[in-house]
Symmetry: C2
Amino acid sequence: MATENITTSLPTRPAKQSNTHPLAPISADEIKNAVSIIKSQWPADTDLHFKALTLHEPAKAEAVPYIEAEFHGGELPRIERRVFVTYYLRQTDKFHEAVVNLTNQSIEYNVRLGPNVHAPLDGEEIMEFERIAIEDPKVQTELEKLQLPEGSRVVCDPWIYGSDGIDDDKRMLQAFLYMRDPQNAGEADSNHYALPLSVSPVISTETKEVIRIDYLPTGKDSNRSGPQPWQPKPSNEYLPEYQELRKDLKPLNVMQPEGASFSITEQGTSNIVNWQKWQFRLGFNQREGMVLYDVRYEGRNLFYRMALSDMNIPYADPRQPFLRKSAFDLGDAGAGIMANDLKLGCDCLGSIHYLSATLADDKGNPLDMPNVVCIHEQDSGIGWKHTNFRTGRAAVVRNRELVLQSIITVANYEYILAFTFNQAGEVSYEVRATGILSTQPIDEGVEVPWGTVVHPGVLATHHQHIFSLRVDPSIDGHSNRLVYDEALPMPRSDFNPHGTGYYVQETVVEKSGGYDLNPDANRTFKIQNAGVPNPINGKPVAYKIHAPPFQKMLADKESFNYKRAEFADRNVYAVKYRDGELYAGGQYTNQSRGGTGVRSWAERGEGIVDEDLVVFVQFGINHIPRIEDFPVMPCEIVKVAMKPVNFFDRNPAIDVPPSTQEFNKSTLLSERHQQGGVEGKVDGNGDVCCTTTSSKL
Amino acid sequence: MATENITTSLPTRPAKQSNTHPLAPISADEIKNAVSIIKSQWPADTDLHFKALTLHEPAKAEAVPYIEAEFHGGELPRIERRVFVTYYLRQTDKFHEAVVNLTNQSIEYNVRLGPNVHAPLDGEEIMEFERIAIEDPKVQTELEKLQLPEGSRVVCDPWIYGSDGIDDDKRMLQAFLYMRDPQNAGEADSNHYALPLSVSPVISTETKEVIRIDYLPTGKDSNRSGPQPWQPKPSNEYLPEYQELRKDLKPLNVMQPEGASFSITEQGTSNIVNWQKWQFRLGFNQREGMVLYDVRYEGRNLFYRMALSDMNIPYADPRQPFLRKSAFDLGDAGAGIMANDLKLGCDCLGSIHYLSATLADDKGNPLDMPNVVCIHEQDSGIGWKHTNFRTGRAAVVRNRELVLQSIITVANYEYILAFTFNQAGEVSYEVRATGILSTQPIDEGVEVPWGTVVHPGVLATHHQHIFSLRVDPSIDGHSNRLVYDEALPMPRSDFNPHGTGYYVQETVVEKSGGYDLNPDANRTFKIQNAGVPNPINGKPVAYKIHAPPFQKMLADKESFNYKRAEFADRNVYAVKYRDGELYAGGQYTNQSRGGTGVRSWAERGEGIVDEDLVVFVQFGINHIPRIEDFPVMPCEIVKVAMKPVNFFDRNPAIDVPPSTQEFNKSTLLSERHQQGGVEGKVDGNGDVCCTTTSSKL
């Protein structure tokens, strides 16, 4: 593997055309190249509206020999470079999918996609449709009925239309309308979610016209009274200048005076990350955001690929248009293209390395995405400790973690997405949901059982957040199996005379399918390599999945919501690996019908014992809004972790250096009291701790 | 309330005899006073073996008016000061319980306790029995049969005997024997758990004699071959000097250059903590360790008292003596008396304030316990964020937390116990299990379904860790109710035509009892004050309980284990408040029979709607050991949280100042690469972030 150890924080650096890693995201030049090849298929003045321009990953059968040769220093096989492209003929419904072979400068296929297959939204059209929705004369007429105060500014959140099987074959948007605080309408960041309006235009994305105007129900039932004269409501701003800010928070800084412990080796558009025996390649693309490839620990294979596969947020209000609110924030938008530009010192604390990416805009031009990933270490408390009570000698190490974080904004909501590695061989994926509830108007004095009034006139409907993490394991190799352990009580017997005994039983998952947790049996899924026994106890090396139980998709099995979010009904899906099966909700989620995602793949019922299998781990939150979630919600955190089981020969963190004051430089808060706080001083001559000399008795 | 704002890190400061807060732990002088009063009840030369010397908390009916007067500045009622004492006549089974009234200098009662009521272990007797077990001639004879190498040093972990109803009325200890690495027997901290022996003496604590020697079963069945010549086994040391330590970990320091944001007001033996609108009194006692009293947010009542109530660790091996292994680490030992002396820079990182405590030893002398609690702030990532995609303006704050941490060592295991507060009104309790597995010998080549071989010849039996947090709420007052919400699908109907609707249904818990979570219904327990409606949406103010599901006690309902660990079969117990009902497993857990804990109180079936109720929240881990847990296990983390629901009128953290580079001083890792790391430089002229000027459009 190329070991040129260059670290950079500059977002623009020319891609290395030679030696382009087959799993590296496509570069700016490759974007332009693919676009020109696609354009060459059409008359010169055809306006193509690009949607996806992303690496078409090589077949695993090619990629694995490459990365093994790369790791072990062999000759690298040649792998052709391909780009996956989707596009419209602009302002038509002619949606195309193509694969361009850049190595051969050819098109492998370029087909028009069938009905009910629609592209995700993109940023440019969202802005455009916001304007169209508000400026449309029919909409203006309706808005006038609201008799809004002079100078009011109406704002629009364009939403995916969703699916209900009722004249929904064409690509449309449902525009939810709000307004800024009318008393401060010049404030461009006024929290419009506090002032929802009951008029909701529907836009055809093909014709870019408002084709219908829906009235939102604002009571307990299906009645829609249409726009009524607007009653003054208070605002609810979140910007700091509208708050009486706390004055007593002292700074807390994280310093790494000798630098960070990780190294980043830039190789074109991807990066190799090395930290505390972990090594992996980090990519970033339009749809998934961060992708981890070829994750190894001390050189041992662990994961071929790991990335968020999709998420689904279905809403609980059964009435139109809300029954169609079911967002797939990756498939309908994209965790890469929606990623925030992370600001030093605001989003990430400590010694930070930023990674930027190159994506594409709707015209097929490369689009710089600066600082979409921040990488840093953090201290996460004690890693392990033991004190021999007889001698008082303590051995303690701290738990240092490596964090790779990205934040996406999908209209009202934010998701903070982070891969975290620690020194005990554990890798986790954490999602923090924050941002603003998607709100709708409600009449005064009305309560409904499917939502919470979070502000006068504002209803936040209950909704689920269901995430799916795709884990393509290679635990000491690619022939793996999925098993689950359960802890079961032993029946009373002569051998178990007091009814205290219990045992663990392992069940092999034979076929692809969806599987659930069972906390009452402590059911724990593990991915094993049955061919590699642990050197101490002979058990197959494995990694277990720590995923919290969650309430699965509540929508019933006949619903579009259920059929479309194919991952949302099980804690785990396991399938036999097939190239191209990356997205648990299917390739095209916008106004989809289902049938193209992980549930469908699993129904093939293929054997997955000692095979190349892929596991989708679901986790989530049933968000029942509360007042405290408004105007912006405090982060709600949900996390899955992969932990070694009999993979190592002892605690992999046993060799972490002891936690010492010399290294950590904590400060003892002193006796002197100052206004509003306590002054710290470093206690250089403090208690000797964690002595490294052993005691002899 | 006294507002003398003195901060101190000195462990010894004279107790203020006047103005002693009724909830403050007893002072050294009070210990001596109580002891002398008890001793005066006995002939002068009677050797009393003290077990508990702790505050006998005043009746809540007295304490509440006191703390309300204290808070609001009224006249403080007089409350008598009492000490709870238990003691033996040394080396007898005459175990006594007494309450001493220090105000009156009298004894309120002093009774001998009945059969099957035994005291916890204490540190002095543990050390003594270790010696007795090893030096006993009968034991020496057995050990000789092992033919241990010359110079071997045998070590003993004395364990609570447990209960099986078989001649177990007397107080005994089960001594598990191990040895140091015979090739390095001078190493006092050799990991003896790697070398377990099959001879296990039983000691009468009354006579201080070995009364029986058990042979441990070492195969798959109940056979006990007795001590066989010892076969050489490798060692498995955890001390750093026996490891090849990692060399590439760079320091990470946490600095608070302007000091910390919390203030600690010392009032005798307790401390008032103020931080970010939180205020509470912190106590510390022998059994519970940290106790939080009178927890308020912006002056509003939240919790009258919060503390770990007990924990139970039952083991899965059904054979003698292991079927009796069921440790109650608070009731059998004590989270206060077992607390580590926390070392600056080793256990706690950042700007640290330490609190010390005064407990008592077995002779009734005050015992200084330095640095048993560390208090510090920490950064826990982003608190909330929203970016208006139209303007790009981000509002973001970080999540600052206050941590109060204590670590207990109970022979082989450690538990890191921490209360954490954040700026969004949330308080959580986290337990990290670490330390060393309790091991037993196993023959080579044997596997058993109730444990894992973690080292040649070493079996670590499966076991559960079940914790119980006692929460005595006072949500905006003492008349509270427990309810639970469930999210349920709406049936299909004209109103729910597409099967997508769902609603939340609230159920009031009418009577005391044990209740379970149900993740499939998203069942969420809340403690409400039905008499205080939220000003925005009228819903009763509440705090919800976030507790992870766990596998309840596996031992069957007729077992001693089940009968004794009365909390271990339910996620939540709710009871009507009664003075003195603090410990979910009962007052006396050592070799107990059950019937005196929370399950028994709950069986009273009292109404708890709009009453003074107490909630016990259980959470835990079924620990199925893996190789990676040896020689010391990486922390396994489990956590419960209490979060506001419609308690506030908006996000309580909305007024946290924005996260800015100026405040946070993150470092941008630069281009220059240094050997083994990357150098950091502070980017003073970096990107402007999180501008405070609003944009106007």
